[in-house]
């Protein structure tokens, strides 16, 4: 059964790497474990696409087309990130920023983190979902503070406290859910199984579910980074090591949003109103607008792209909030595109900052002279994330905006303004980084840019051509989300 492999490999990897320490080839082993995970995930995806949804282990694990594609995506990005982190971390060590002990911590908790996210994605039990989300948080807290600089400690602390509190609220929501469920399903394990709940969602007590959803939304929403719960996100992204920033904004946010969606489906079923949808649209729109205006004032490149993650998460939340086949489809598509593109950008940014020795954008200039491939990688990645065709981010934005214009015209002025401001801010800052003259010397070593262009290539392809099975997959998922 692939599912056990998928969960087992990373956890085993975590333990193994913790024991193995840094006695040579740890990065390679890390990459190997991720590769194994990726293969298992691919196998699982193939099976799901062939055979449809799947309940495993007395219904403790439930894999439908919605989460299996997130599983595949997670495994893929995890693998490429591992590839990227191999040279990156080596150089960090050469720069004396990291010790062997910390690298050991990094590698093992990286695997654990991936494992936790996969668990969160595949579990069928809302309780376990909560547990694994908390686990993922804990695994990354120490990664954020890996450099032990005051700034990184502060970021990690805020990350821990804010997300911890958020998660706690989510737990309360889960309890309320269970409280409502056990009256229908009776006490015991089954009452938290999502499939069971989904079966009886019409009978669940609306008032309780309302409260539950509020707690779940605020709880998991904190991890999604919805304004005004987002405050931890820019700090954590800017201060942690770049590979961590990549997986945080590329994967963790998706997983959290996936949790929100799971509960939304239940609440919609129970209430029969679109209260949940409206709430999500409100949060999404707020996030998009606020993030766009905050991007404008950034000087630190990683911080800027962290805010852009908030913006895109807001856009996705907005899309899911709108509901309907097209919007949900667009939301899923945007999730994928954002993960791929944003992680690619962080890879490129990582090398750029490493070379310049700073994250201040004013000190990074003329990458195209010092290393053309890196420069073009960053430029194309930025253009992609800004939603310029033919890159796939545009495909989803196209669907989202047109649907919004048709279904909720009132929201479009905000979207128009926010997208415009975000475009002006990000592009106006990235352009001089890539183009123009520079004082920096050429890059001494060859950066690992294969992941960057792999991701961008995928994004480009998906912008022009979405393979039918992938489309079918998206469509099923969109249908599951109440399309």
């Amino acid at each position: 059964m692939e599912i056990y492999w998928i969960l087992g490999i990373p956890l085993a990897g975590g333990i193994f790497l913790a024991l193995w320490g840094n006695r040579g080839h740890a990065p390679e082993i890390n990459a190997l474990f991720s590769l194994a995970t990726l293969l298992a995930a691919a196998a699982l995806a193939a099976r799901i696409v062939a055979g449809g949804p799947l309940l495993v282990g007395q219904g403790w694990f439930f894999i439908d087309s919605f989460n299996v594609f997130l599983v595949a995506l997670t495994a893929l990005v995890a693998f490429t990130t591992a590839l990227f982190s191999r040279p990156y971390m080596r150089i960090e060590k050469e720069h004396g920023k990291l010790t062997d002990a910390r690298l050991r911590l990094y590698h093992s908790s990286y695997q654990v983190f991936i494992g936790m996210m996969l668990l969160a994605l595949t579990t069928n039990n809302m309780g376990i979902l909560w547990v694994s989300m908390e686990g993922a948080t804990l695994a990354t807290v120490l990664l954020v503070s890996l450099y032990r600089t005051p700034a990184s400690l502060e970021a990690a602390w805020k990350y821990f406290i804010l997300c911890g509190v958020g998660i706690a609220l989510a737990l309360f929501g889960t309890i309320l859910l269970y409280f409502a469920a056990e009256k229908v399903l009776g006490s015991g394990g089954t009452a938290l199984l999502w499939t069971q709940l989904n079966g009886v969602k019409a009978q669940l007590e609306p008032t309780v579910l309302q409260l539950a959803f509020v707690f779940l939304l605020v709880g998991y929403g904190t991890k999604v980074g919805l304004v005004p719960l987002h405050s931890w996100l820019p700090d954590a992204h800017a201060e942690g090591p770049t590979p961590v920033s990549a997986v945080l904004s590329g994967l963790l946010l998706n997983v959290a949003l996936c949790a929100v969606m799971r509960s939304k489906v239940l609440v919609d079923g129970a209430l029969g109103t679109d209260m949940a949808g409206n709430l999500m649209m409100g949060f999404g729109l707020l996030s998009v607008v606020v993030a766009a205006f905050l991007i404008k004032r950034q000087t630190d490149v990683k911080r800027m792209f962290a805010y852009s993650s908030i913006e895109h998460m807001g856009l996705i939340t907005f899309a899911f909030g709108m509901g309907g086949a097209v919007a949900s489809f667009a939301g899923l598509l945007h999730m994928t595109m954002h993960s791929l593109t944003k992680s690619a950008i962080f890879f490129a940014v990582g090398h750029a900052t490493q070379k310049a020795g700073t994250q201040m954008m004013d000190d990074i200039r003329g990458l195209i002279q010092t290393n053309p491939t890196l420069g073009w990688g960053l430029m194309l990645g930025t253009i992609a994330i800004l939603g310029v065709p033919p890159f796939g981010v545009f495909a989803s934005e196209f669907l989202i905006i047109t649907t919004a214009m048709h279904a909720h015209p009132w929201a479009t002025p905000f979207l128009l303004i926010a997208l415009g401001v975000a475009f002006a801010s990000i592009f106006g800052k990235v352009q001089p980084m890539v183009f123009g003259e520079t004082r920096l010397p050429r890059l001494p070593y060859q950066p690992a840019l294969a992941p960057v262009f792999l991701h961008l290539g995928l994004v480009l392809m998906l912008g022009l051509y979405i393979p039918p099975y992938l489309a079918a997959w998206f469509r099923q998922a969109a249908h599951l989300l109440g399309g």
């Binding site: 376990i128 804990l138 805020k158 509190v165 309360f172 309890i175 006490s187 820019p234 800017a238």
Partner: protein, 220 residues
């Protein structure tokens, strides 16, 4: 309606929990805070055990034991050690002065009771009103986290919040499925462990656990 004595006793414990929450809200000294936290844990463990006994939900015994070990013995001891090592006993005055905090706390209690009322009406379990109390505990702990200025007090607030959640779980729903309980417990344990590491790191780079040193990351 009349409740059986054990359950009345649980109600009493519930009231006690709420009381302790208020006490924590007003407590200035860190050590006192830890003590109160331990008591809260004890009350929680007791109520869990009683519910387990009176309703025959055997898995609740496990969680009662867990609570006892973790929240009454392990963590307080751990915190005492930290406080002694880092001597951060004296808490500087909180952001809001105590009376105001109390007033807000009362408002919160009323709010959460109102919120819980319709739900308790339909509660299948014998324990009705406890949900409101649990929610009140959660919100009070939240308030405490907001008002306090030391890292360690924030953590204690965080754990008090978990206590509230735990109480909600046990009293309102006779506890979550065992796996979940174990998972939650594990998470809490790891969390506290991580926190411990943190305290020392923070300590060695800021020479104190005061949060005012950690306001560097901001929008200029």
């Amino acid at each position: 309606m009349s409740l059986s004595y054990p359950l009345q006793f649980v109600n009493l414990l519930a009231a006690l929990l709420l009381l302790i929450s208020f006490a924590m809200l007003s407590q200035r000294r860190v050590v006192g805070l830890i003590t109160l936290f331990a008591w809260q844990g004890a009350a929680l463990a007791a109520s869990t055990a009683i519910i387990a006994w009176s309703t025959g939900q055997h898995h609740l015994y496990y969680s009662a034991a867990l609570t006892l070990i973790l929240k009454v013995i392990a963590m307080p001891w751990f915190f005492y050690r930290i406080v002694r090592q880092l001597d951060v006993n004296r808490e500087v005055e909180s952001m809001l002065n105590i009376p105001t905090t109390m007033l807000i706390g009362i408002v919160l209690v009323i709010f959460s009771f109102n919120l819980a009322l319709p739900i308790s009406q339909m509660a299948g379990t014998v324990m009705r009103s406890t949900l409101g109390i649990a929610m009140a505990c959660v919100l009070l702990a939240f308030l405490m986290m907001i008002t306090r200025r030391k890292a360690i007090t924030q953590v204690i607030g965080f754990l008090a919040m978990e206590n509230g959640l735990f109480f909600a779980a046990t009293s309102a729903t006779y506890g979550m499925p065992l796996v979940v309980e174990l998972g939650v417990a594990l998470d809490v344990l790891v969390g506290v462990f991580v926190l411990g590491i943190f305290f020392f790191q923070i300590r060695e780079s800021f020479e104190s656990l005061d949060l005012k040193h950690m306001e560097k990351l901001r929008e200029k």
